[in-house]
Subunit: 109 residues, 2 copies
Amino acid sequence: MPSENMFSVYGRMTALPGQRDELIAVLRDGLHASGDGGLLAYSINALFDDPDTIWLTQLWTGKEAHEAATRSERVAAASRRIPSLLAEQPVGFYGHAVHVGSQNSTPPH
Amino acid sequence: MPSENMFSVYGRMTALPGQRDELIAVLRDGLHASGDGGLLAYSINALFDDPDTIWLTQLWTGKEAHEAATRSERVAAASRRIPSLLAEQPVGFYGHAVHVGSQNSTPPH
């Protein structure tokens, strides 16, 4: 996995009661829709302490790839479904990956 | 990458001014020290908007593997160095990975 200029996204979202699994399905749809356009890795995680809250991480080849995916119709369609599933404003951060390691890839460097 | 029972960790930390790179080095030391004990993947990310803040994600084979690593002397030694580098209390969440995808691994399922 390239370590230079990787663009990283973190998001945390709290779903309306009973809507968490639908939220996860919509997020997964959006990520799959952009999967060939520079999305290197992602994870969607459920909190132990709060059954309605998830956090999401994404690693992209670069900021431009992420922005291009966000503009695509399939990803935009998924994104439009998200607000109606949320109990509160999502929290998000953008940054770059300083170090990445995986047992399935080359050793971290 | 197995998708069952993966234990996930998220942390966000703000370093004292000028200490961010040292914080990253310590976190990396700790992750490398536990690397053979069930740590599947990790990333350390620098925020665009705040040069002192990083977020960190980890995927483990399970909660037990994470706890065993935390108890190991090398990881504990790294962890003890962290508080003195921070400007404020860290934020952390534990959970499980619901979906994980990577261009370097098998397709998400």
